[in-house]
């Protein structure tokens, strides 16, 4: 079964690499990084800092858009276009199919984020002469965050339409960056607000933990233990969402 998962993943990589939207997003990412130069010239902030800020934002935005688009489309497109019927008529369980598709997307995201980060490092060096290797650490943590968002996107796509899955995916990214702030509402007298914020707090991941600036900022160095903890945090959320998605997929009817 491992071999079959591998080949499904390989096919997913081909599918995503040839996808026009994914190609377009990669170009947008490069373009936004290049915009850092223009913004740096108009800004009073230190040039290197500005290029890094704009570049890290560009990689983040590209990654989030790519994972939401591809994650919600990953199973939905094959089910909608009925190509899933051909692959699932082979000796492949639905869970294995899901695992292969997810692995393929994870591989493409890894290449996308690392390639954009490498371009940012090169661009920063070309513009300022600074070699900022630590940006790669930021790229790794951004990738971990995107894996969590991928898990949620795939889960939502098994429950609802692609449009709604995309909407919920965006909510996860937005609320996921405010999870820690939700604690403020726990003291609220309104019972509804308490329940909703507690629900979000426990169900959604704290995506701010993976913020690139925690590792790329001037005085911030992430401890190895904390880094390991973040990897485990990512794996836990990814496993939970994908196991749920797999359970739902096993029960899904292919009309």
């Amino acid at each position: 079964m491992t071999n079959r998962i591998f080949w499904i993943a390989a096919n997913t990589v081909v599918e995503l690499v040839r996808d026009r939207v994914m190609q377009g997003l990669a170009f947008v990412g490069v373009f936004l990084i290049l915009c850092g130069r223009l913004i740096a010239e108009m800004s009073v902030v230190e040039r290197a800092r500005m290029i890094t800020d704009v570049g890290a934002g560009a990689v983040f935005l590209t990654g989030v858009l790519a994972v939401l688009f591809a994650g919600t489309n990953l199973l939905d497109r094959e089910i909608r276009e009925r190509s899933a019927l051909c692959i699932l008529s082979k000796p492949v369980s639905r869970s294995a199919w899901l695992a292969g598709k997810v692995l393929g997307l994870a591989a493409v995201l890894c290449v996308l984020i690392m390639a954009l980060t490498a371009f940012l490092v090169f661009f920063l060096w070309a513009e300022t002469g600074i070699v900022a290797w630590k940006l790669f650490a930021g790229g790794v943590f951004l990738y971990l965050m995107l894996l969590i968002v991928m898990g949620y996107s795939v889960l939502f796509s098994t429950i609802t339409s692609q449009f709604m899955a995309l909407f919920f995916g965006f909510l996860v990214v937005i609320i996921g960056h405010m999870v820690d702030d939700l604690k403020i509402y726990w003291a609220s007298k309104a019972a509804g607000a308490q329940i909703v914020t507690k629900l979000f707090y426990f169900v959604l991941p704290d995506l701010k933990l993976f913020s690139a600036w925690r590792v790329t900022g001037e005085h911030s160095i992430i401890a190895p233990v904390e880094a390991l903890w973040l990897v485990l945090y990512c794996i836990a959320f990814l496993l939970i969402t994908l196991v749920l998605a797999s359970v739902i997929l096993e029960r899904k009817e292919f009309e």
Binding site: N3, R4, W7, N11, V14, E15, R18, E81, R82, S83, L85, C86, I87, L88, S89, K90, P91, V92, S93, R251, E253, F254, E255
Partner: protein, 233 residues
């Protein structure tokens, strides 16, 4: 089986296909043929009842090692060419290297696909896609072939070629179950015919009996179809 959203798509259907038999599943549009096939393949769940393939539950994915399936109007990865798509499907049966290459060559030769395998599937005509669809169903040299409207979209040459492929499979002892609403194809190919109308099986009869009836001046397949299906409609 097959009730959903209050619409009973298939009801009280009891059917078995014997080893080495070509079974034609006949019915008008919307009769429930595709629903039955999707239930058999485990894509849809029946609200009650059981489906077994080779004596095992249809929900056991391992049973599909020996099954080939062609969905209605197959839509296969448009970004791959035929050879790449067949390689993807072949690998699902653990075919590798020379064995995979040989198998792709065999099925493409059987279906007259040699040159077309280099063209991206997104650029193929409906008929050519149907052939590639049939090729992917044959890639594992299955013991049982389940085909949903396999003649759909095929030109006369394609239909003739398809009939020859099915007859060759029969000679090799394979079991073929296919749905169609084209009576002449069923008449030429099948050992047994099942007719479904409004989700109910209205006829299950050996083709030899139908041909005998016709030879003795009785009803032919079309008349039986109109009688059974027309009455139910």
């Amino acid at each position: 089986m097959g009730a959903r959203n209050r619409l009973v798509a298939v009801d009280k259907l009891n059917l078995s296909v014997n080893h080495g038999e070509i079974f034609g599943f006949l019915g008008p549009n919307g009769a429930g043929k595709t629903t039955c096939i999707k239930i058999t393949m485990g894509f849809l769940k029946a609200t009650s009842g059981q489906v077994a393939i080779l004596g095992k539950s249809n929900t056991d994915w391992r049973v599909r090692e020996r099954v080939g399936f062609l969905p209605e109007n197959p839509n296969i990865y448009p970004y791959l060419n035929g050879r790449q798509a067949l390689a993807v499907f072949g690998r699902m049966f653990s075919l590798r290297g020379a064995a995979l290459k040989k198998r792709i060559e065999d099925v493409s030769e059987q279906l007259g696909l040699d040159r077309e395998l280099r063209t991206p599937l997104g650029k193929h005509s409906k008929g050519m896609l149907q052939r590639v669809g049939l090729a992917q169903a044959l890639i594992n040299d299955p013991d049982i072939l389940i085909l949903d409207e396999p003649m759909s979209g095929l030109d006369p040459i394609g239909r003739r070629m398809f009939r020859e492929v099915i007859l060759r499979l029969k000679q090799r002892g394979k079991t073929v179950f296919f749905s169609s609403h084209i009576l002449s194809d069923i008449e030429m190919l099948c050992d047994r015919v099942g007719m479904i109308s409004r989700g109910r099986l209205v006829l299950d009869m050996p083709m030899s009996e139908i041909l005998e009836q016709r030879a003795s001046g009785g009803r032919d397949l079309e008349q039986i179809f109109m009688e059974k299906v027309g009455a139910a409609q």
